[in-house]
């Protein structure tokens, strides 16, 4: 089966995906699937999305050739798909526009979301403000403490932020709590999942709402370079920007697809979030996929300097792409990502989100690798620059030991 044909009617990506949820949610998932399929077939829905993409979110996002950065990447030319320039600062807006409009079509008045770094929470709070929904965002208590600025952003947008103190108090626990809310309030509430994971139809639906990334990038590369790229890459936590970046390239067999997972302190240390590289097949949050789990199947806490990649599983379509070999997944550890964060900032004047810095580092690694294995090649590499780094300044200051004080001062008037 062609990689672009999944999922099947019951939401399976071969052995992955599916819908492992309490019966109480079945009706809501069926309603959502039906509403999504009807909307997708309705030109008016497409027009509503296009209007918000262009006139609200600022699409299309540019494709920037990173000339000075490419000098550090062997013979490769690195092209950045600038999702960082979207309204709210990341690719997350693409998905919330789609699901927000769908929520309205379903006649629901309340949205809930889970968030790790806060990017998806901010995007959800944004669309809730725009479309007039009540909004509650669940965030692990550990994350509300390390992302206080985003908590405030959501509150300023009118959302209620709930710190989740259960379990490991991170993204996965926020997702459990959001599921519990949904089970209880499913009548008037849509659970706006931000990741290309969770039960069917979420992995498929989020992919379709993020597909715009690759649709634009493919056309931009063809128009400017007269050919398809050799490599397309993205960072992978749950995998929403990556699946959006891959979607329109899945059937272009000559285009290699690379996903870069958060290697944390190194996969060998066990302190990482690389579910495909370092995990095993299991069921988490309603879907069968690669999961970080112990011998008994209890979820193991993930670790990454990037809160947005700090998730112990991955979307089921990535699991399948990894299994079939259509896409390759490699870990990028904290240090390599932070090097790329600094290098891109200093060579291009673009400060990536630390999540996206994993993809930037991976692209550089591939460029350098190809320069050795195939010195004559002049590869064209597209990187999904999924978000901007403003939210990560605190983390970067701590990592690089920057104190935020002036380097020098000049004399004052006497």
């Amino acid at each position: 089966m062609s990689p672009s044909k999944y999922p099947d009617a019951s939401g399976h990506f071969d052995i992955f995906g599916g819908s492992f949820v309490p019966e109480a949610l079945r009706a809501a998932l069926a309603e959502l699937t039906e509403a999504f399929e009807q909307a997708q077939a309705d030109p008016e829905f497409a027009a509503e999305i296009a209007d918000l993409q262009v006139n609200y979110a600022g699409r299309p996002s540019p494709l920037t050739e990173a000339k000075r950065f490419s000098q550090h990447c062997g013979n490769a030319t690195i092209l950045l798909k600038r999702e960082d320039l979207n309204h709210t600062g990341s690719h997350k807006i693409n998905n919330v526009i789609g699901q927000g409009l769908l929520t309205k079509r379903m006649g629901k008045t309340r949205v809930i979301a889970e968030t790790g770094a806060g990017q998806h929470g901010v995007a959800t709070a944004t669309i809730a403000a725009l479309l007039g929904f009540e909004c509650r965002v669940y965030m692990g208590q550990v994350d509300t403490e390390r992302q206080a600025l985003n908590v405030a952003r959501m509150q300023l947008l009118g959302a209620e932020v709930v710190a989740v103190a259960a379990g490991s108090r991170t993204l996965k626990d926020a997702m459990n709590e959001a599921m519990r809310d949904w089970v209880t309030n499913v009548e008037n509430t849509h659970y706006l999942i931000g990741s290309a994971s969770g039960p069917h139809p979420f992995p498929m639906m989020v992919r379709e709402f993020q597909r715009i990334i690759s649709t634009e990038a493919r056309a931009q590369v063809l128009a400017r370079y007269g050919r398809l790229p050799d490599i397309v890459c993205a960072c992978v936590g749950g995998g929403s920007n990556a699946i959006g970046m891959f979607a329109d390239f899945l059937d272009d067999e000559q285009v290699q697809l690379f996903g870069f997972e958060a290697g944390g302190a190194g996969v060998a240390t066990g302190q990482h979030a690389a579910s495909i590289t370092g995990g095993s097949i299991g069921v988490l949050h309603g879907t069968r996929t690669f999961v970080l789990q112990d011998e008994d199947g209890q979820t193991i806490e993930s670790h990454s300097i990037s809160a947005g990649l700090d998730y112990p599983a991955v979307g089921p379509q990535h699991a399948l792409l990894a299994k079939t070999g259509r896409a390759s997944y490699e870990p990028v550890d904290d240090a390599e990502a932070m090097d790329a964060f600094q290098l891109l900032s200093r060579t291009e004047g673009i400060m990536p989100a630390i999540e996206s810095a994993h993809a930037v580092a991976g692209a550089r690694r591939l460029g350098l690798r190809l320069a050795e294995t195939d010195p004559d090649a002049r590869p064209l590499i597209v990187v999904s620059l999924s978000g901007r780094g403003d939210k990560d300044v605190d983390t970067a200051m701590a990592y690089f030991g920057i104190r935020g004080v002036a380097d020098k001062s000049t004399g004052a008037l006497k």
């Binding site: 492992f20 019966e23 109480a24 519990r180 209890q298």
Partner: protein, 280 residues
């Protein structure tokens, strides 16, 4: 000797026998491993014995899981502690043996990933060997249950799936058709936890289940916390399932640094008396 419908399996016969005695059965949920593995085994014996030898007919042995989507705060609290204190999946087999030896019917409530990780067939084999009657699967519906249907058939185990107020008639019919033993009706939309009043939706969901298949017993859970509520639910359901109210007794004792089971025994006795007051 009455000839029972094979669809009643092991646990459905317990519910049917209670019905023949003019009452509902009492199903007590307790997590294995809280306050400790031995402590949880003692608690299971206590809910079976109550204060005067009358308690739960069936013990729903809950296996703690790191990501329990259906559980409310009390059960999450207990299962999180149990995991911190080292409970393992295999402990449910010891618990099954304990419950069976104490004279009640053991069933295991477990999130699906833990079964897959153990191996579906191996889990069924070991549960059957430990005297377990079957599984209650909160996040596995018949849609995804192919391997479990086969393994439960092979080892003669019961499979209790859930229905909810939001389930369509068609889904209720399909779910009941896949069950063996009984069906678990969640009476309110929401997670586990004590509620002041049991839901008005409870009799409705029971009635819908009976309309779909009158031969399969129906248990009602989520929200029952005392004998009076048990009597009320027991007047229309075949089994009354109680979890959080029992777990709260254990939490109170654990927080006080005590392993005293007096409160738990009294609660079990109150509930057992409640189902015996249910007019049927």
């Amino acid at each position: 000797m009455t000839k029972y419908d094979p669809r009643l399996g092991i646990s459905g016969q317990v519910l049917r026998q209670a019905a023949e005695a003019g009452r509902a059965a009492l199903v007590a949920y307790l997590p294995v491993g809280f306050p400790s593995v031995p402590g949880s085994l003692a608690a299971m014996r206590a809910v079976i014995e109550g204060t005067e030898g009358v308690g739960a007919d069936l013990v729903e042995i809950g296996m703690p899981y790191s990501d329990p989507m259906m559980d409310g705060l009390a059960i999450q609290h207990a299962t999180t502690r149990a995991l911190e204190r080292g409970v393992r999946t295999r402990d449910v087999f010891t618990a099954s043996e304990t419950v069976a030896a104490a004279g009640a019917t053991p069933m295991v409530m477990i999130y699906w990933n833990l079964v897959e990780r153990y191996g579906v067939t191996a889990f069924a084999r070991d549960l059957a060997a430990a005297g377990g009657a079957g599984l209650i699967t909160p996040d596995l519906t018949p849609d995804e249950a192919g391997e479990w249907l086969a393994a439960s058939d092979a080892y003669g185990l019961d499979r209790v799936f859930l229905i909810a107020p939001s389930s369509t008639d068609e889904r209720i019919r399909e779910t009941l058709a896949a069950c063996r033993g009984w069906v678990y009706a969640t009476s309110v939309m929401g997670v586990t936890g004590v509620r002041a009043e049991t839901s008005a939706a409870a009799p409705v969901i029971v009635q819908r289940a009976r309309a779909a298949d009158p031969s399969l017993p129906v248990g009602v859970g989520l929200g029952v916390s005392n004998g009076d509520q048990a009597a009320e639910v027991g007047s229309y359901a075949d089994a009354v399932i109680v979890g959080s109210a029992l777990v709260n007794c254990l939490i109170t004792a654990d927080d006080a640094g005590s392993d005293d089971l007096t409160g738990l025994r009294a609660k079990a006795a109150d509930l057992a008396a409640g189902v015996r007051r249910s007019r049927r």
